[in-house]
């Protein structure tokens, strides 16, 4: 079977679900990794590994979607609920910019009290005051919520954000793009289409975005394949995805915790990266997440098809709420990439190289 798949990959043929299923469940890990690494080096021939200097602040933890996997949110009115003012958000952007960030990934809970102008002002003021920072703001489901509470069409919200100057969207909120899984872990966020349509309309308008996947909870291989099929098909339409970013679910302090049968560790992660590199033949980049999987796993992942190291994540609160903390500096990123045998290169949000080390 691996030879059959290698022949397909070498001949430029697309892998089908049967191939994907075998790769996810049965393929010998290092055979799979070797094939994924070959494809990665065919796409990016040098040993370059990119990273971005970024921060992931949040503007609110107020949320009405009650996702089972989330330890970060609080219901409206909860004593621990908080929402930042526009100025407080901009202070976070300023602090990130002062540390050299070129990307700020701003996301938050789904707070129905916030008007559209709140979001637009943050975008405009970020661009005006910190032109070196790309506003990489608001996941698909936040945009859906803004549309719902303001009575606008989702596409109008995108148009307004674009008019304010935003050009990229983060890929969070996808979890696993399978009707069954989303109904189980995040019934209030809608099915896969709720996420996909925002990215489709954003790509149609010239936005770039990433696609993420949070696995390691209730999904089966078929759900993962639903996810990969959906984003691969969407990428065929506009080519707006820059990268695929999978990470494993962190169960602490979540309602989903007690349902987890088996933790997904580093082997599962290497497999996921390698499968996505092979299956997502129209995605330019696959990201190794030092943050969620650990720095050593991140280094090993560079041999399993990943070509990007992710970012510095100066601020991060969502995993922290699940009792998971990991930090890094630019110097350490450069060292880790180098000692893994690769050449570090700083990129921007759209994966353009800013500096090679």
């Amino acid at each position: 079977m691996i030879d059959e798949i290698r022949a397909k990959v070498d001949g430029g043929a697309r892998l089908d679900r049967k191939d994907g299923h075998w790769l996810l469940t049965e393929a010998p890990l290092l055979e799979l990794g070797t094939l994924a690494a070959d494809v990665r080096f065919r796409r990016i021939p040098d040993k370059r590994v990119t990273f971005v200097i970024d921060s992931n602040p949040n503007y609110t933890n107020v949320c009405i979607t009650d996702c089972q996997f989330c330890a970060f949110y609080r219901k409206p009115g909860h004593p621990e609920a908080w929402t930042l003012t526009v100025d407080e958000v901009l202070a976070k952007v300023e602090s990130a910019a002062a540390n050299g960030a070129t990307t700020v990934l701003l996301q938050g809970g789904h707070n129905p009290e916030l008007p559209l102008e709140y979001y637009l002002t943050i975008v405009r003021e970020t661009l005006r005051r910190f032109p070196q920072v790309t506003p990489h703001f608001f996941t698909a489901s936040e945009i859906q919520t803004v549309a719902k509470v303001t009575g606008l069409a989702m596409t109008d919200v995108l148009d307004q954000l674009k008019a304010a100057g935003q050009r990229t969207l983060p890929g969070g909120g996808a979890e696993v793009l399978s009707t069954r899984v989303r109904r189980r872990i995040e019934p209030k966020k809608g099915g896969p289409e709720a996420w996909l349509e925002v990215h489709r309309e954003a790509h149609r308008r010239g936005f770039k975005s990433t696609a993420t996947m949070m696995y390691g909870h209730v999904e089966e291989p078929d759900d993962v394949l639903d996810h990969l099929d959906a984003i691969r098909a969407l990428q065929d339409e506009f080519g707006g995805f820059t990268a695929f970013v999978p990470w494993s679910f962190k169960p602490n302090n979540t309602l989903l915790e007690k349902w987890i049968k088996q933790h997904k560790g580093p082997n599962a992660y290497m497999r996921m990266l390698a499968v996505s590199r092979l299956y997502l033949d129209n995605f330019p980049h696959v990201q190794a997440s030092w943050f969620s999987e650990g720095k050593k796993a991140g280094q090993i992942a560079l041999n399993f098809g990943a070509d990007d190291w992710g970012g510095t994540l100066f601020e991060e609160n969502v995993h922290k709420a699940a009792a998971y903390v990991n930090t890094i500096s630019v110097d350490e990123i450069v060292t880790l990439i180098r000692e893994a045998g690769f050449t570090p290169a700083q990129r921007n949000t759209e994966y353009e190289i800013l500096r090679t080390y």
């Binding site: 290092l30 990794g33 560790g265 082997n267 999987e293 280094q299 090993i300 880790l336």
Partner: protein, 360 residues
Amino acid sequence: MRFADERLEPIWEKVRSETRLSREDALTLYETDDFLSVGRMADHVKSRREGDRVYFVINRHITPTNVCVLSCSFCGFARKPGQAGAYEHSIEDMVAMVKDETREVHIVGGHHPDWPFEYYERMIEAIHQARPDVQIKAFTAAEIDYMWRRWKIEPKDALARLKAAGLQSMPGGGAEIFSPRLAKLLKYSGKADPDRWCEIHGIAHSLGLKTNATMLYGHVERLDERVDHMLRLREQQDLSGGFVTFIPLAYQEAATQLVPRQTPPADSLRTIAIARLILDNFAHIEAYWVTLGEETASIALHFGADDVNGTLEDEKIQHLSGASTPAGVAREQLFRMIRDAGKVPVERDALYNVVKVWPR
């Protein structure tokens, strides 16, 4: 199997036909960029020998003392007699450390200048009498050699007496890297040299004691020194045949700072894989999770390792040298490492008798 580096093809032919690899082959395996292929070959050998089985042991590490006359540059554990932090356990304390469910006791300590040989003998005897079902693995060849240096007890007498007291096997520590250059540089020339270390293991084997072998890597050694170390062990195993497991030990940088950082995980995975390929006469290759970290140890189960050691309550030496993994880990954590790799956890005792095959 297809290779990006064609130099691996003749090596693969040898691996498939179970032909012994040469020193040059080993160096090629270290040099090649095709690191996953080194792992693939090792995984082939591991699977041929052990299928999907991965062993672990519920064990207890006891470190009788940290008082040591040596000053090895890589050690963050040793204290001089009377120095702050120096400790000495009583035999009663050590007996009390062995709990139910423990299958193996692993005893390694400093070279204490004042403890007579009889203290070690009584220690083994007391633990064996209190816990006759627990297998005792104790004293590195370096310690046995020190008993000769300090008290002039020949290793064969020392080992015979310890065996009579209840000793069943010897750990593989004290080997460091078999290199006179490094022994001088890192100030371990005061302990058993490679010939002496191998001689003592040979004596143990002749007395029917099984032993392990280690290699301390990832500091200032060269790759050819690692290869020569493994080849020396292979040679000794041909002669005496009593080695069970090879355990590469990644140097812990935090306390002693010989190098600023631990060697990267790919180097550890490659070293485990090369060990599996070179040491064709060793039954087992261990991914020692305490020094590697859980992530790397778990992935190493696809790179030729078939053992993750044990629960290691109170693993003082590695812990004080800065291993970031907690000293005690439950069986569940070992399962997690083994099952994530899709392997079958097999609980063993010190001599690799199967205690229980757990579900995958």
